[in-house]
Amino acid sequence: MASETIRALLEQAFPAASEVDVVDRTGGGDHFHVTVVSSEFAGLSLIDQHRRVNAALAGPLADGTIHELRITTKGAA
């Protein structure tokens, strides 16, 4: 369930994304690996790309829904 919430938040934050992937790494619903591929990242440094993802998931990060978050971002379409 948390995976779907996270996916929805990412799709909302990155409407131009060509790929949004959310993996529940442990099956426990709180360790996630998210991948976002979007042209919106073009020209942004890696840290700024990750900052955008962190910002999109600020809610579940703050309330503990996400205990651990791995991020992979790509600027290419």
Partner: protein, 125 residues
């Protein structure tokens, strides 16, 4: 002269970030790493020839709160080079694999740097 203990946690964190060449805020210590992500960042830094100053955030939850308030970065670990946030475990690992981390360290600290590993404990009141 003020000692560490006279300073707020936030001031101490800022001091460490501003004075140490490379700071790794982590769960546990390099000798006893308590989290796989902290371990990934530690290894990435070490393989890239970084002198590392490690700060364990586990002794008090306020350390993480104050750190994230300062950095705007929500998760642990966090790596700073010359006062600037480089990122967390994923970024460090990616930059280490591409060689960019070593390049950044060369640029910031020089290629002749000594590789040291130390731990700094914050004063908790």
């Amino acid at each position: 002269m003020s000692t560490l203990a006279d300073r707020t946690l936030s001031e101490q964190i800022r001091d460490v970030i501003e004075t140490e060449p490379v700071v790794l805020f982590m769960k546990g210590t390099p000798q006893m790493v308590m989290c796989g992500n902290s371990d990934r960042a530690l290894r990435a830094l070490w393989e890239s020839g970084a002198p590392i100053t490690a700060v364990d955030i586990l002794p008090d939850p306020r350390i993480r709160q104050e750190l994230s308030a300062l950095s705007g970065w929500p998760t642990i670990p966090q790596v700073f080079v010359k006062g600037e946030l480089v990122g967390g475990a994923d970024i460090c690992q990616e930059l280490a694999a591409s060689g960019e981390l070593r390049e950044r360290l060369d640029e910031a600290l020089g290629v002749d740097r000594q590789q040291t590993l130390k731990t700094v404990a914050l004063a908790l009141t």
